[in-house]
Symmetry: C2
């Protein structure tokens, strides 16, 4: 904690509270209690709960993008193997959360889309930005004849990310990795195959 | 409204409020306000918010099962066509909700799994019950050589329902049907194909 600024501490606490209590259930009081700072400090840094959550989400996505890069830029793997590697990296993260903590993007997509225009707009932008390196990697895999070229790379990328959110949803109910393993096994023997 | 019992009116109001505000954000006060009944009436019928929501969920699933039957028991269609029919029926329902209202099972899976052991257990049972007629239909499609037999029917059924929840999640962010259409187009040309 020592090296974190107060602002960063609040954002980190926000992520924990959002995972635990969701958007509607996360009060600013819960966030400051988690961060161990007085309530007044919050308003020094953030205007509203909505804009605060948008910033937690942006930070979460920035972190996720480093994992995307780690997998999709690994030139020791073929393009198709890189896609698989991404799912494995995320599965490892989900395991650390004991299969109870899912994906903030998925959580907010279902819970906050109706509650906040700002968050919904931000989530839409995130999905579009998220799919871009996947579409590029899929195009490479198609060019290398690793994946069938019947579908557009962007459509396949959207399909992969949305369906993966569905697998994470199922994982949360089960509290175990079966849905993630099943997803990987099935899609790489069907959709993401020559 | 005239023919509904007070109990049923409260359950219907509960569904509306849950769709709008989620599990944590739905107070009993919101439910009785929506139902237009005094607060005291609620406790005549339901013990806790948690058990009430479990009953709303059961009622939602009972309704969903009639849609499952409608699609999967339509003997004028081949088994594979029946699976497609199910997605079309659900897409029609989602359109009525103007692509903003998703699936209560998906919403509660992400939001309530951590909050309530009772709901999580119920959701797990629901997913298992839900997949059964799909696994049966997929087995028929495999026997009729409409779908590749590489994977177990139960795994394919789980995959279909979980990935479809992912498509609904993406639909909610976009506020439109593109993710649903994309899902149907891709999976029926790949996973659910001979």
């Amino acid at each position: 904690m020592g090296s974190l600024s107060t602002r960063e501490r609040i954002l980190e606490a926000g992520l924990k509270v959002l995972f635990r209590q969701g958007y509607i259930g996360s009060g600013i009081r819960d966030v400051v209690a988690e961060a161990g700072i007085p309530l007044g400090s919050f308003t020094n840094y953030f205007r509203t709960k909505e804009s605060f959550v948008a910033e937690v989400l942006d930070r979460y996505f920035a972190n996720l993008k480093t994992l995307v890069s780690k997998a999709l830029n690994d030139k020791s793997l073929t393009p198709r193997q890189r896609l698989k590697r991404y799912l494995e990296i995320i599965s490892g993260r989900l395991q650390r959360g004991k299969w109870n903590r899912g994906c903030l993007i998925g959580d907010l997509s279902l819970e906050a889309s109706l509650q906040s225009k700002l968050l919904r707009k931000r989530l839409e932008e995130i999905f579009r930005e998220w799919r871009t390196p996947f579409a590029q990697c899929i195009a490479e895999a198609q060019a290398a004849s690793e994946i069938d070229s019947k579908f557009e790379p962007t459509d396949l990328a959207e399909f992969l990310l949305a369906s993966w959110e569905g697998a994470i949803l199922r994982m949360k109910v089960e509290g175990g990795p079966a849905a993630l393993d099943r997803f990987e096994k099935i899609v790489f023997e069907t959709v993401f195959k020559k």
